[in-house]
Symmetry: C2
Subunit: 396 residues, 2 copies
């Protein structure tokens, strides 16, 4: 038999995308869905990027150098300086979105059978890339009831064994909206240093915070040798389709490793590297505006869900996601009901089931993630319809 590999066979289809065929069938019949299932921002990209794309003037479209186009990398350095972080070009390699950053980071720090500690629920691509790289994720479960608070550092320390190579810290976090406090970061840095572990710090949503100022783990001098930051322009500039991110580290050994893998895949997109120079150099106005917008949306979603009987929510402080525990047995069944049965004036709502965001099997079965990627008016209507849908489902 001609079989595909075990590493791929064990992958699940994207939990966010697996309902697509059902959705398309309903849409063909005229159903309008409010799509709160995918983290694809509705907000316009900065005009600097849109103009930058149009301004591409070269008649060749050559490979970018693997370490990035120098102008683009220099713009990143200026961007990081805004947060008090001084970098050299050698500290950064542009990646094809934050997603590729996850893959390269895992390959650079962990061999087959080695382990990386993660906090679940977590962004699903970590699970997928770990599977294809044959790296084991060791999960520490955080609970919505507890507002996704970390356990005591001793509890985290128990997960460390001789195969452990790194800890993943996603802050602001997808899907929980958690933002790690300085004290939490300091504790994890201490743990990482003591045990010679890398900290893979995913700061994709850095500026989208609703309390305090945007920050990076790199502000802590103690982390300099251990941190490998995964960065992305997708959410910050509402432009996931440009496929640009970066890996950032003061650790020269890890940056050399990253660059060696980057050379195999040649380069990140040329036109987009050039088109993002201007906004990277002057990002604050745009990112402040969208953070404010997402904060208002968070309030709408959070308030609406809190008022629904039996629904339990956490309090997101960043990113643009809300986790909710529903008074249902199986959130996927409820979502299927929203897609295939329930309509209010021929409209319905899409949200993502949370089960697949957990590494531990069986967790999160009655939980969902709501991505607030619609404007305030639509979001209000969507939450009204969601409420009606839940009521109807519970009466079934």
């Amino acid at each position: 038999m001609l079989n595909t590999s075990k590493r791929v066979n064990k992958l699940i289809a994207s939990p966010i995308r697996k309902f697509l065929p059902m959705v398309r069938a309903a849409e063909k019949k005229g159903v309008k869905f409010f799509k709160l299932n995918v983290g694809d921002p509705d907000i316009f990209a900065p005009k600097e990027i849109l103009q930058g794309i149009k301004k591409y003037g070269n008649k060749n479209i050559p490979y970018a150098p693997s370490p990035g186009i120098s102008k683009h990398v220099q713009a990143w350095l200026k961007y990081y300086a805004l947060f008090g972080i001084k970098l050299k070009e050698e500290n950064i390699v542009p990646t094809i979105g934050g997603a590729e950053g996850i893959l390269l980071a895992m390959m650079a720090v962990a061999d087959v059978g080695e382990e990386i500690i993660v906090f679940e629920p977590l962004y699903t691509s970590y699970k997928g890339f770990a599977a294809v790289c044959n790296v084991k994720l060791a999960p520490i479960t955080l609970r919505v009831e507890n507002n996704f608070k970390l356990p005591a550092i001793q509890e985290i320390a128990k997960k460390i064994n001789k195969k452990t190579r790194a800890l993943v810290v996603i802050s602001p976090d997808n899907p929980t909206g958690k933002v790690w406090s300085n004290q939490e970061l300091k504790n994890i840095i201490k743990l990482a240093r003591k045990n010679n572990l890398f900290i893979i710090a995913d700061e994709t949503y850095r500026e989208i915070v609703f309390e305090g100022k945007p920050k990076s783990i790199l502000i802590f001098p103690a982390v300099r040798n251990n941190a490998l930051v995964i960065d992305s322009l997708s959410k910050r500039f509402s432009a996931p389709g440009i496929r640009l991110g970066a890996l950032v580290s003061y650790n020269q050994k890890v940056m050399r490793a990253i660059l060696k893998i980057a050379m195999i895949r040649l380069s990140a997109p040329t036109i987009e590297q050039l088109a993002t120079v201007a906004i990277l150099k002057n990002s604050k106005k745009y990112t402040s505006k969208i953070a404010n917008e997402y904060k208002q949306r968070r309030d709408i979603v959070n308030d609406a869900l809190k008022k629904m009987p039996g629904v339990l929510v956490s309090q997101p402080v960043g990113a643009f996601y809300q986790v909710a525990k529903l008074p249902v047995k199986n959130a996927e069944d409820f979502i299927k009901f929203l897609i295939t049965e329930f309509r209010h004036k021929n409209k319905s709502v899409l949200v993502a089931p949370l089960e697949d965001f957990y590494v531990t099997r069986g967790l999160g079965r009655n939980e969902i993630r709501v991505a607030y990627v619609l404007n305030i008016k639509e979001l209000k209507e969507a939450m009204e319809i969601f409420k009606k849908g839940l009521e109807r489902y519970l009466k079934k």
Copy 2:
């Protein structure tokens, strides 16, 4: 100690790119290099792509769907129909360049410790991706003396063991310029079917052929279940910076596997998928023109090298590379000499050492690859200067 992974530590820096610092130092002193080392086409991209980029009219830059933007995939189907190959959307997944196609194909067909048979010298990214995926490449050596002719099929069969999962066929080939004959393809298909192996058919350079017509392995009905084609728009449309390629197969199982990995990394660039629709639907005029141009260049490079005493060349029939065996002990030393010592009117030439294109250690030490990515006038001058450089080196 905080160490990077073994799989990355065993990677070598790109053979094509490792001389970059030396080159930059010489350039700063005013030396002009004719760059025949990187396969980065000098030819202008089709105006359809350049205009397509400028015409991007959406104010959002959303993720593309993981299976590709439908208009883009439909354009691929139309492109393939030109070669008599009927595909459905489910037979193709756009990738981030041909490079990502290699990675996804390896992950989809081979587990850790399993083997893939390749013909060396071969495109170096196969070695790199195999290393980070912990897949073993089993090389069959082809010789420049023999114009890179395949050995008898029984010789190839000897490499197959119970861990073998696939054979790689790159045609037209980088670095050799070899184009597999129909008979060679039929033989390998028979072997693959008999042993339940995938054929990973890399057709990045499909249209750049100097004898006969462009073709795909998919024209052979017998290969339908076994072939997984790696395709790319980089060379065909002189646009490697757009980072677009595709994986194509009639095997539904392998396409489902590919799509599952594609979902983890989300999507290929949005703007470029839209900007390449027009040229994919109407590619022939552009590709015929560049194939003709490369043929003329092949003649110049091939003739010039053949006349140099002690230089042995093969006869490329496609792609835009020429392999040559030089009367030197170590081609890398000679290349360093060209970069740091030799100047003719303050000019010199860059070529790629071939050693790292081999899987078997120690082979190719006195061989080079010349990429003919300069116009005819410059190419003539470059070959003159190369000749003088070699003469000077041999007199040292």
